[in-house]
Point group: C2
DNA sequence: AAAGATTTGTCCGTATGTATG
DNA sequence: ACATACATACGGACAAATCTT
C-alpha cells in the first residue's frame, strides 16, 4: 500500500471510494496477513493524507460488503475470502473445472431466444449471415454464489430446443449430448476485462469490486465443426482463470 | 446501453464518471458503429436521466482521453482504437505475438533486484525457500504505447546477470538464449482482473480505464525445468488475451 | 441564397454532496 | 455535532457552428 501515490481529487471517484479500493487491493495482496487486521483509522488517515472521517467512510463501505468486521475498542478484522480457480483449456467443463473447490455447482437458465445470427456469431459458427440461432442466457453458481453470467449461441438447425434440455439437465455438456454431441473441445478463448454494467453487476450480485473477466469462446465437436459460441462474464474478485497449455 | 439501469448516487462514483464508463463500454461494444458518432448530448441526458451538463462532463473526460472528438454544430465523433490481441499458448513470445498488429515493439528494463525467493516464486521455480533469485521489472511497448508491466523471476544460480542481457537485447527470449536456453515453453498461465494501483496506472500511462489484466505464468526449458516465473499486468483497454488450444 | 433545425460551447445562478477541522 | 470550503449536479438561456430545406 504505497503512500507516495495519494488520492486523485479530479478522477470523479470520491476519496473514500479510492481508499476503499486500495485497502481492498492491499487485503488481496496479503499485506495484512500477519495480523489479520487493518491498521487503525488514524494511521491510515495519515498514510493516505486524508481526514479520519474519510477513512471511516471507506471502512464502513468495506464492512457493508462483508470484507471487514469492525470491533469497537479492538480494531478492524479482515474476513477471509478466496478466489476459485477456473481452468480454461482444450477440455473446458464448468462443473468439472470447479470440482473439489466448491461443494456444489449449478447452471441456471435465465432466458432463451431465437434470432437471426449477427456478424461475429455467424462467423464463429460458420453460418450464413441471417441463419437462425438459439441464444441461451445462463447464470453459473458455486455453493449458491454467482460466479459467471453467460450468453451461449447455437445453430438453430442443429440445436433447436436446447434450452429445455439445459433447464432439465443443468449442464451444457449433457444438453449437447442430447443432440448427439458425445464430445466437444474448446477451439479458442479470448479474455478481456472491464467494468460490469449495472445489469450485469445486479445479476452477478457484485458488491464491492465491479470488475468482470469476459471470455469469448468457441467450442467444436469431435469432427472440428464449431457448435457453440459463448460470451461469459466472471466476477473478477471470485474467480481466477487458469489458461492451460498442455502437452507437446 | 440500457436505460433501465440509471445512475447510482451512493456508489462514491460521480454521475459523469459512471456515464463516461457506460458510453466507453457502448463504444467498445460497437453500438454506434453504423454512424461512427455518439448520440447528441440532449438525447443522452434524457436516456440516462441526468442534466445535459452532466453528460457534457462525461464527454469532456472521454474527449480528453482521446476516445471522442467533439465537433461544434455537428456532433461527437468516435475516434477509432483497437485492442491488440496477445496470444497466450505453448509458445508465448512478446514481440512475435504482437507482430503484424503493431509497427514496432520494445521491452524496457525498469529495475533489477536480487533477493531470497519467497513462497509462490520458490514453489513455481522448484527452488529451496531462501534460494537467491533475480527479479526483473519490465515495461513492454507497442508503437511507443505501454501495453504491459511485468515482474520476472529467475533462479540466480543459473541466470545471474540476466538483467544486463535484457537491457542489451531488449528481448527475454534472446536474454535467455545467452544463458544457453535454446527454447522454452509456457507451462501455466493464471489470469485475474483488478483495478490498477496508482503506481501501476502511472507506469502503464492509463488514462481512462484503470483496469488491468494480471497474468501469473511459468515458463520451462525444453527439458521441462521451470526457469521463469512472471507476473504481468496488461492495460485492459489496449489488450485482449487470446488462449490458443490448437491441435488434437 | 436565406431561413430554420440541430448540435456543441459558454454563461449565469442554486442546491446538494464530499472532505476537512 | 457543527461550521467551512470545494466539487458536483441541476436548470435555464443564449451564442456559435453545421446541416437541411
Amino acid at each position: 500500500m504505497n503512500g507516495e501515490f495519494l488520492i486523485d481529487r479530479r478522477s470523479g471517484v470520491a476519496a473514500w471510494k479510492q481508499i476503499a479500493d486500495r485497502i481492498s487491493r492491499a487485503i488481496d495482496a496479503g499485506e495484512f496477513d500477519d495480523t489479520g487486521m487493518v491498521p487503525p483509522e488514524t494511521q491510515l488517515a495519515e498514510h493516505f493524507g486524508v481526514n479520519r472521517h474519510t477513512v471511516r467512510s471507506a471502512m464502513a463501505a468495506l464492512a457493508e460488503d462483508g470484507l471487514l468486521r469492525r470491533v469497537p475498542g479492538k480494531g478492524t478484522l479482515i474476513e477471509k475470502r478466496e478466489r476459485l480457480v477456473y481452468p480454461v483449456g482444450r477440455r473446458t467443463r464448468f462443473s468439472e473445472g470447479l470440482g473439489g473447490q466448491a461443494g456444489e455447482t449449478d447452471i441456471r437458465m435465465l432466458a432463451e431466444e431465437e434470432r437471426p445470427a449477427s456478424g461475429a456469431v455467424a462467423t464463429a459458427l460458420a453460418l450464413a449471415s441471417g441463419a437462425m440461432i438459439v441464444r441461451l442466457d445462463t447464470l453459473s453458481l458455486a455453493d449458491g454464489v454467482p460466479v459467471s453470467l453467460a450468453a451461449h449461441y447455437f445453430a438453430h438447425e442443429r440445436f433447436a430446443g436446447i434450452g429445455k434440455k439445459l433447464a432439465t439437465y443443468h449442464s451444457i455438456t449433457r444438453a449437447l449430448a442430447a443432440f448427439g454431441v458425445d464430445d466437444y473441445v474448446r477451439v479458442s478463448t479470448e479474455v478481456t476485462a472491464r467494468m460490469a454494467s449495472a445489469e450485469e453487476s445486479d445479476r452477478l450480485a457484485l458488491n464491492g469490486n465491479q470488475i468482470v473477466l469476459e471470455t469469448v469462446a468457441v467450442n467444436a465437436d469431435s469432427e472440428g465443426r464449431p457448435i457453440q459460441y459463448s460470451r461469459t462474464l466472471f466476477a473478477a474478485d471470485r474467480i481466477a482463470l487458469r489458461l492451460d497449455t498442455p502437452g507437446k
